[in-house]
């Protein structure tokens, strides 16, 4: 058994006060100066710790308040109120909602799993990954032993061409070498986001994190400068607009990423030649008909395909189709063609929460790339000012590489633990076995209509309540 993979996290404080969902409004006018003011009774002592961050113009009370409403409900002059914060609502967009972003901040700061009391407060279901539930084992299939002292759950996966069989000599020795496989201890690779206020120091921080986590970082070729020299084995350079023959000749990198057009133009000989020194990854935009094109590339000799969905986790050419469906289609096509086990499928696009990793693997991916959560871990608010050439409100570019690395490790530490929770509940002890286990998931489209579809009759003389 391999050594237990543990991601060590520690508190890494934010540089800017996070934006909170609601704020405290406490008036002074009309105050009775009660002998015992309700503010002194706060069990979290938020009024004692109160301070103004003059740079951000944020009252620290809003970050300390735990929303118990006791002061609101007890002040004899009703001078204290809670109000929703419009700035919070304005964070992100319809997909990267404020709640996701603030939970990512929390995980990057603490390295902890978000935990709360009082049941699930959210919507019944939603589009994409929100229309999936994962299974748990009730009485049969238990494999684990509580949060502490659980049985070992491996999250390791293999990237590369897996041999369909091994051959042994008469004396039991393995014949030939198994090459071209990289094992990473968690099914998550990092990827520099397509926008952001990103400095070379930021990329260096992510590379440091990737190296310490023993995973990979995909980064566009032009960003690979001399200060990343030490991280060559960790980097996956993304090569653009160069013929395939020139790819990966340097021999410095274990993996190199090319786009679909380059891959489709490559000859079988070139692919075979490149395969002896580097693992080529083909990035395919998630578009309709991707399963056919994916299989064509596999037939040609490629064995690592990266399915790249939109930032909202949809098809790039159809916002009503989702990454989970695209990955399932490719996965099933490769099974049908008897080629699935030789291929590694990577998925990316809108993977914003730990649950998305588990779910896209259940849909058929072997591993994922995370991109924008790496930026949000650095306090990014997804405001996109940087895309217009405007300054970053949280100056991501000024963060030190060490801080970037620690925040990233915290985030992935929290995600790793959440992946263990999901797999543990399912009774699955190996991430390789989670792949394609759609039978251990439940889908809105399968369940909702079959449960409620027949409940549609409203006859004359009846009304709804």
């Amino acid at each position: 058994m391999p050594a237990k993979y543990v991601i060590h996290t520690k508190m890494v404080p934010h540089r800017f006060e996070p934006i909170t969902r609601s704020g405290v409004i406490a008036w002074e006018e009309g105050c009775l100066k009660c002998a015992v003011c309700v503010k002194t009774l706060c069990i979290y002592h938020v009024y004692d710790h109160r301070g103004l961050n003059a740079y951000q113009m944020i009252d620290s009370i809003d970050n300390e308040c735990m929303n118990c409403f006791r002061c609101v409900q007890s002040c004899p002059k009703e001078l204290i109120h809670k109000s929703l914060n419009p700035e919070f609502e304005a964070i992100g967009d319809g997909y990267w909602i404020p709640n996701i972003i603030s939970k990512l901040w929390y995980q990057a700061e603490t390295g902890k799993i978000p935990v709360s009391g009082a049941g699930y407060p959210g919507p019944f279901s939603g589009p994409g990954f929100d229309s999936m539930w994962t299974d748990m084992s009730e009485i049969v299939r238990p494999t684990r032993d509580g949060i502490h002292g659980r049985e070992y759950i491996s999250t390791g996966v293999d990237i590369g061409r897996k041999p369909t069989c091994l051959t042994f000599s008469r004396d039991g020795k393995l014949e030939g070498e198994v090459t071209g496989i990289i094992n990473i201890p968690l099914p998550i690779m990092l990827r520099v986001p397509s926008f952001g206020s990103i400095a070379p120091e930021t990329v260096k921080g992510w590379a440091m994190a990737a190296k310490r986590l023993a995973t990979m970082l995909a980064v566009s070729e032009e960003m690979v400068g001399p200060d990343l020299e030490d991280f060559a084995g960790t980097l996956v350079p993304i090569v653009k607009e160069r013929p395939f023959q020139e790819v990966g000749i340097s021999g410095k990198h274990a993996m190199v990423e090319v786009d679909r057009a380059t891959a489709e133009a490559a000859s079988r000989e070139d692919i075979a030649r490149a395969g002896s020194s580097v693992i080529p990854v083909v990035t395919m935009p998630l578009e309709k008909g991707i399963e056919e094109r994916a299989f064509a590339l596999v037939k040609k000799g490629f064995s690592v395909l990266h399915i790249e969905g939109s930032r909202q986790s949809t098809f790039q050419d159809s916002p009503s189709l989702f990454l989970k469906d695209g990955v399932r289609a490719v996965h099933l096509k490769l099974i049908e063609e008897n080629a699935r086990d030789q291929v590694t499928l990577l998925a990316s696009g809108g993977l914003a929460m730990a649950e998305h990793v588990a779910k896209v693997i259940i849909c058929g991916a072997d591993a994922v790339y995370v991109d924008f959560p790496l930026l949000v871990a650095l306090e990014c608010r997804m405001c996109r000012r940087c895309r217009k050439g405007l300054s970053c409100p949280v100056h991501v570019e000024e963060a030190s590489p060490e801080w970037v690395a620690l925040r990233t490790i915290n985030l992935l530490g929290a995600w790793h633990n959440q992946l263990l929770e999901v797999m543990g509940a399912m009774g699955i002890r190996d991430a390789r076995r989670l792949r394609g286990e759609a039978g251990r998931a439940m889908f809105f489209e399968d369940l909702d209509e079959s449960t409620f579809g027949s409940l549609g009759e409203l006859e004359e003389g009846y009304e709804l309540e």
Partner: protein, 507 residues
């Protein structure tokens, strides 16, 4: 009390029990300017008692009772001096979430205060989760105007027989189709626990101890207590098993399916540690799953173990909702269980990872019809009581749950809301609940008195029963048993729309 005859069960009285806070939160605020001449018109008009005249002055004494634009005769329009203005309360908008909206929280507080559903101003029937219960509607014959209000026909029978196996165990018929779900001593205070248990006793029903021992304070209510045997076996002793009429096995809980229980170290106070035979300040894990159960046969061994200790006890099996929940249910029946209790993921007080609450196991609305159908096909549906729980918030949720195939429901969070929980989701942190409900901190728990808490929960239950009775009368049903599995009494808005659209196209 004769538990086998509930037709003459006498419900307790509603006693008006206001909020324990000075400023109850309502949806609206009324502002009165100095133009007020204290003519008393608003006092006279308002049927809700918002305004009060005192020493020649008029005050907005109970602004939280104002129903706003729903008011038939609004004071702010009738005021001769235009001294009154209506505003929405900002505090109200900062409350609640998708499942327990601010409307549901405040209407539950209304029920806990007055013992009846709010007559206007608040949506007290559904939340805003956008699916499941919140998209299901009851289909009722159109009401003749005022006929319901005057309907004096016999009250429908709400009772529920819990032992349907007809074996040698207790025959227990509870007068209402619900009982209190498990909340352990440790996760909630002894005051909260006693309030729930005493309310259950007043209603002739039951309340579960949860996994955390059987505090001595509960002994006077033994006949109304379900004790839980869960994976950590905290506080389980032969004596506690023998003390009760119903024993519940907790295999999993909906709030954290597949993850077991977790009491953070801060909540392990000396009294909790004593009860659980553990060390003060150390977190307690109730492991998942039962390590002695790997099959239905092992499960039967468990049930037999309880039956050996207490042969008359009913055995309830609490499970959450995996893909094979139907197999688990039928397996539980063959293992000898009297009650199969399906726990969905919307409930729970304790600490649970957000990822588990949101994603693991299927919504109770899907699991229930699946189990009901499967038990029917197996020919054993009449022999086992199906209880659903995990997010039953309103009387309408109860009616929908029963129509989807349950015999009755288990209540948890709603009890806490009756005690003025605001759903801040911090039950697990630090000293626990700031409002003194889900805490064992000796200072904080003093905020809830047992008498106040009991009456608040009783009031809420009575409001629910009245509302359920009204629904059953509208459905022309004499007993709540007639509603079980009657999915024809439900429509789902998404699919109903489709149907109407199709009809339009063809017509």
């Amino acid at each position: 009390m004769n538990l086998n005859n509930t037709s003459d069960f006498i419900y307790p009285e509603v006693v008006e029990t206001p909020s324990r806070f000075r400023n109850p939160i309502g949806k609206y605020r009324l502002h009165r300017t100095d133009d007020c001449i204290a003519c008393g018109k608003c006092v006279e008009l308002c049927p809700y008692g918002v305004h009060v005249m005192r020493r020649g002055m008029v005050f907005v004494e109970h602004p939280y009772r104002c129903v706003g634009p729903d008011c038939a005769d609004p004071c702010y329009e009738a005021c001769p001096e235009n001294a009154l203005s209506l505003k929405r309360n900002r505090d109200f908008d900062a409350l609640g979430d998708f499942r327990w909206t601010a409307d549901l929280l405040t209407s539950t507080w209304h029920m806990a205060e007055f013992g009846q559903v709010p007559s206007a101003g608040l949506e007290y029937r559904i939340g805003d989760s956008g699916g499941g219960f919140d998209k299901l509607r009851l289909v009722l014959p159109k009401a003749e105007k005022s006929s319901v209000a005057e309907d004096t026909s016999q009250e429908p029978d709400m009772s529920l027989e819990l032992n349907r196996r007809g074996d040698d165990a207790h025959g227990i018929r509870i007068p209402v189709p619900f009982y209190g779900g498990g909340m352990s001593f440790g996760s909630v205070s002894i005051h909260t626990m006693l309030s729930r248990v005493r309310a259950a006793t007043a209603l002739g029903t039951f309340c579960c101890t949860g996994e955390g021992g059987y505090p001595d304070e509960l002994i006077p209510y033994d006949d109304h207590i379900i004790t839980q045997v869960a994976t950590g076996l905290f506080g389980v002793r032969e004596e506690t098993i023998q003390r009760v009429k119903i024993v519940e096995f907790k295999y999993a809980q909906g709030a954290k399916p597949g993850l077991g229980g977790h009491l953070l170290g801060d909540k392990v106070t000396p009294s909790v540690a004593r009860m659980r035979e553990a060390v003060v300040g150390y977190p307690l894990f109730s492991p998942f799953p039962f390590h002695s159960v790997y099959s239905v046969e092992d499960h039967k061994k468990h049930v037999d173990w309880i039956k050996a200790m207490n042969p008359k006890a009913l055995v309830s099996v609490k499970v959450s909702t995996p893909t094979d929940v139907d197999m688990v249910a039928v397996g539980s029946y063959y293992a000898g269980a009297h009650i199969i209790h399906l726990d969905g993921s919307y409930g729970g007080t304790g600490a649970a990872p957000d990822i588990a609450k949101k994603n693991i196991a299927m919504p109770i609305e899907y699991a229930l019809p699946k189990v009901h159908r499967f038990l029917e096909e197996e020919g054993v549906r009449d022999k086992i009581t199906v209880i659903a729980s995990g997010g039953i918030r309103t009387p309408h949720d109860i009616a929908k749950t029963i129509a989807l195939g349950a015999d009755g429901v288990c209540i948890g969070t709603a009890d806490l809301v009756a005690l003025e929980c605001v759903r801040c989701h911090n039950c697990e942190s630090g000293r626990g609940c700031a409002r003194g409900i889900a805490t064992t901190d000796p200072e904080l728990m003093e905020q809830v008195s047992v008498d106040w808490g009991t009456q608040r929960i009783v009031n809420m239950y009575l409001a629910w029963i009245r509302e359920l009775a009204r629904i059953l009368k509208r459905l022309n049903m004499k007993s709540i048993r007639e509603l079980v599995g009657r999915t024809d009494c439900l429509v789902h808005l998404d699919y109903m729309k489709k149907k109407i659209r199709q009809d339009n196209r063809t017509g």
